[in-house]
């Protein structure tokens, strides 16, 4: 195969990039204010937005590229470049170039400014631009000249933030919205830090055609992040909500999602799932009373084997109390074909996870998040003891930021210690095990039970601790004794 300089024939269609990155009327945008604070606002033509207690015309922003900077200085608002801001800064005053100054003789006393607060306030209200104000402040500072250039720059930057406002208009995405909520109101998004979030999206195998069962109390942030990534009318995001006040998915609107993607988000009351579980449990225990108790936890898992019978039963039992709309939902629950289950809530995750678990396809992936490892331990234990899942892992992410500067490179001195924990795993079928000799996929409960009975010493291999190369496709090490295996 000749691969040199030759490419696949599928040329993707060119997309409307330039337009995507222009600020438009009606956009929800993130404003970064003085590199400190992030807010989200909706821009509407001829309307004003409020930034740092000042009014800004939306029209000034609309039509400009995203990530542009706008300076609110004195009484004007105008688009600026970083270079212009740098020039402004340099223009205020010449910094010390010598290495002699060393702050050494500076006491703890910071009152080296000769101007009074009133005088400064007056300058500000007179609409003077920030450069002029700061230059005046420096002229009236008794210590500025004795500082190192590093300290001088720090002083300048501090003052600039005080007397001028620079805003950057950021395009809202899962990433930029995470920065916003994680820094301003982390509780609103269940303290979901970007690294843990990105791991959740990966481990739940999110992609355009996925069917996702999502239990969240992140005010819609997680729903939006998943929908953004799927960006497709071909998926399904089923978001049960607790209570009859409707779902709280308020953050979804900030993602700028297309209508067809938004339509894949379906939210209904968790109560319906709970009722369904109740009905199935009662009917299965009464109808299967001649089987052993191994079966009662599997009745929800053989939907595909007996879809008509099961569906019928559900419809009958619920029909007296449920509306037509509820029936549609029940259909979505039972036949959604969910391959991902994600639980990120403020509640203890065990009951929510188990309640939704029957509707995840076998071989589907799930991710359960909690701030407390103990809560995941409970879920892990139940799933393991009931053999409901394999590849169960509790993990935690440790993230560091670095300062990379000439001669001053080091990890940041403060770090965020708490990114929460996630439990990941793959659901497996617990019955209908495949015997090598039995007719495939027609195995009944009876043969399964027999199989299990004839092999009492079989031990779940997940409990083994072995350090074996995973790239050995044909592990022929059959000589090792059974005892090793069951250790």
């Amino acid at each position: 195969m000749n691969v040199d300089e030759k490419q696949n024939s599928t040329t993707p269609p060119p997309s409307q990039i330039s337009n995507d990155y222009l600020i438009k009327d009606g956009d929800q945008v993130i404003l970064e204010i003085n590199q400190e604070k992030l807010i989200v606002v909706k821009l509407q033509k001829n309307k004003k937005i409020s930034v740092s207690k000042k009014d800004v015309e939306s029209n000034i922003l609309i039509g400009q590229p995203y990530y542009s900077l706008f300076q609110l200085d004195g009484k004007t608002v105008k688009r600026v470049t970083q270079k212009e801001l740098d020039v402004q800064l340099e223009g205020i005053v010449q910094l010390n170039q010598t290495e002699d100054a060393n702050n050494k003789d500076l006491g703890q006393n910071h009152t080296s400014q000769k101007l009074t607060q009133d005088e400064i306030q007056q300058m500000k209200q007179s609409g003077k631009d920030s450069s002029t104000i700061i230059r005046t402040l420096i002229e009236n500072s008794s210590t500025f000249q004795g500082k190192t250039s590093f300290s001088q720059l720090k002083y300048l930057k501090k003052k600039i933030k005080k007397y001028t406002t620079v805003i950057k208009v950021i395009k809202p995405t899962a990433k930029t919205l995470n920065s916003l909520y994680y820094s301003s109101d982390p509780k609103k998004i269940c303290f979901l830090r970007f690294d843990t979030l990105s791991q959740i999206l990966t481990m739940a195998n999110i992609h355009s055609t996925q069917k996702v069962l999502l239990m969240e109390t992140t005010s819609g942030y997680l729903t939006g992040a998943i929908a953004e990534r799927m960006n497709s009318p071909d998926g399904l995001i089923f978001v049960p909500h607790i209570g009859n006040g409707g779902p709280n998915l308020s953050i979804v609107k900030n993602f700028g999602l297309s209508k067809s993607t938004l339509d894949t988000i379906k939210s209904f009351e968790l109560k319906l799932i709970d009722q369904l579980n109740q009905k199935n449990l009662i009917s299965s225990t009464s109808s299967n009373n001649n089987n052993n108790n191994n079966n009662h936890d599997n009745n929800n898992m053989d939907i595909e084997e007996q879809p008509d019978k099961k569906k019928l039963k559900v419809d009958q039992t619920l029909s007296s109390t449920t509306s037509t709309k509820d029936k549609e939902i029940l259909d979505l629950i039972e036949n959604g074909g969910y391959n991902s289950l994600i639980v990120v809530t403020k509640y203890s995750p065990l009951s929510l996870t188990l309640s939704l678990f029957p509707y995840l396809n076998a071989s589907g992936q799930f991710v359960i998040y909690s701030q407390f490892i103990q809560q995941l331990l409970e879920v892990h234990q139940v799933l393991q003891d009931k053999n409901l899942a394999v590849n169960l892992n509790i993990s935690e992410i440790w993230m560091r930021e670095y300062q990379v500067l000439p001669k001053r490179t080091h990890p940041e001195m403060s770090m965020d210690g708490a990114s929460g924990y996630i439990l990941t795993g793959i659901k497996v079928k617990t019955t209908n095990n495949i015997k090598p000799t039995s007719p495939i996929s027609t195995s009944t409960s009876t043969t399964t039970t027999t199989t299990t009975t004839t092999t009492p010493p079989v031990v779940e291999p997940t409990s083994l601790e072995m350090n074996v190369d995973t790239n050995n496709d044909n592990d022929c090490d059959k000589k090792r004794k059974r005892e090793d295996d069951t250790q």
Partner: protein, 333 residues
């Protein structure tokens, strides 16, 4: 890999799972292939028609495995380590911070094992595309083979090229220059490729460079700050995986000097006992599981031994993989 049916079909790549460190990848063929493992031998063709997630017994019915659907994460675990691969957590972080989604157009250099490429393809498919560049010819060819077998080749263009020298422009591809949403660099000298990256990026698009050594990061950050990049941040992510299982915990039975009603051990056992209401079906017959507390003695002293479900950190953790530097390209006007 992306649109797997619920039942195994001929030609599928299936993960045979028998433990966290014991996963094997087999291609399901309708012939007499036998899969041999520590847990018995399996006739592969019997998998056809079986529902994914099923438990599959060995020919002698003594062992079993689970048949699991392949996905990019399992792929990156099971592929043979023919080169240094990026690990799942780095991949997750890269994809999220590059703001990838269905529809994104991405440039990657080098392709390496294709483990990141596979994850990117999953994310950007079907509307987006990945252009990946690999210096080593054999690796490029191997990657093409893998992508084809995994059913994702329509989303990936593999090019054998030294991107530092020859850049990322593909002559006969339209909609590339100025249309690239994200660039990922895993190169010995990433700073040498940044001008070439800029040549295909658009305003607001993201770049990520992965480097193991801090000196590489320093050079890259310098180059990025001299070019039109903003939001330059360098991070490192590490995953701590917990070892979670039943442990035989031994506790000495001692008088509790702070409570006349109890010896300390009894108290402890009843407090910290794990889910005792659960009656798991299999565990009861194994030596692990919710066994009754057992007494033991050391000399004249008595103690109680009990299974507890506990976590601790896995001792041999993966340490540093690399530094991730992210930056956004802001077109200067």
């Amino acid at each position: 890999m992306l649109n797997i049916k619920r039942k195994i079909q001929e030609g599928d790549k299936v993960v045979l799972y028998s433990g966290k460190d014991r996963m094997s990848l087999v291609v399901v063929k309708n012939d007499n292939t036998i899969f041999n493992s520590k847990f018995g031998n399996y006739r592969i063709k019997n998998l056809i028609g079986v529902e994914y997630g099923s438990k599959v017994y060995s020919n002698d019915e003594k062992g079993f495995l689970h048949a699991i659907a392949l996905n990019p994460e399992l792929w990156s675990i099971t592929l043979d380590h023919r080169t240094q691969i990026l690990f799942n957590l780095d991949i997750s972080t890269i994809i999220f911070n590059l703001e990838l989604k269905n529809g994104s157009k991405v440039v990657e250099s080098g392709t390496g094992s294709g483990s990141l490429s596979t994850s990117i393809a999953r994310t950007v498919a079907p509307l987006g595309h990945l252009y990946t560049f690999e210096f080593h010819k054999e690796r490029a060819e191997h990657a093409i083979r893998d992508f084809t077998e995994n059913g994702i080749k329509q989303y990936i263009t593999v090019t054998h090229r030294d991107a530092c020298v020859d850049g990322f422009k593909l002559e006969n591809v339209e909609g590339m220059v100025g249309y690239i949403d994200a660039v990922f660099l895993d190169l010995p000298c990433p700073w040498e490729a940044i001008d070439n990256a800029v040549a295909v990026m658009h305003h607001g698009s993201m770049l990520c460079s992965f480097s193991p050594c801090i000196e590489q990061v320093q050079n890259t950050c310098l180059k990025l700050s001299e070019s039109s990049f903003q939001e330059i941040t360098t991070i490192e992510v590490l995953i701590r995986t917990y070892d979670t299982k039943y442990h035989k915990v031994e506790s000495m039975d001692l008088v509790n000097p702070y409570d006349s009603t109890n010896t300390i051990n009894n108290e402890e056992v009843s407090n910290s006992s794990s889910n005792t209401d659960e009656k798991p079906q299999q565990r009861q017959s194994t030596k692990w599981g919710q066994s009754k507390p057992q007494s033991f003695t050391v000399g004249e002293m008595k103690g109680t031994k009990k299974d507890q479900f506990l976590t601790n950190v896995i001792k041999e953790s993966r340490g540093h993989t690399g530094y991730l530097t992210f930056a956004r390209y802001i077109k200067e006007e």
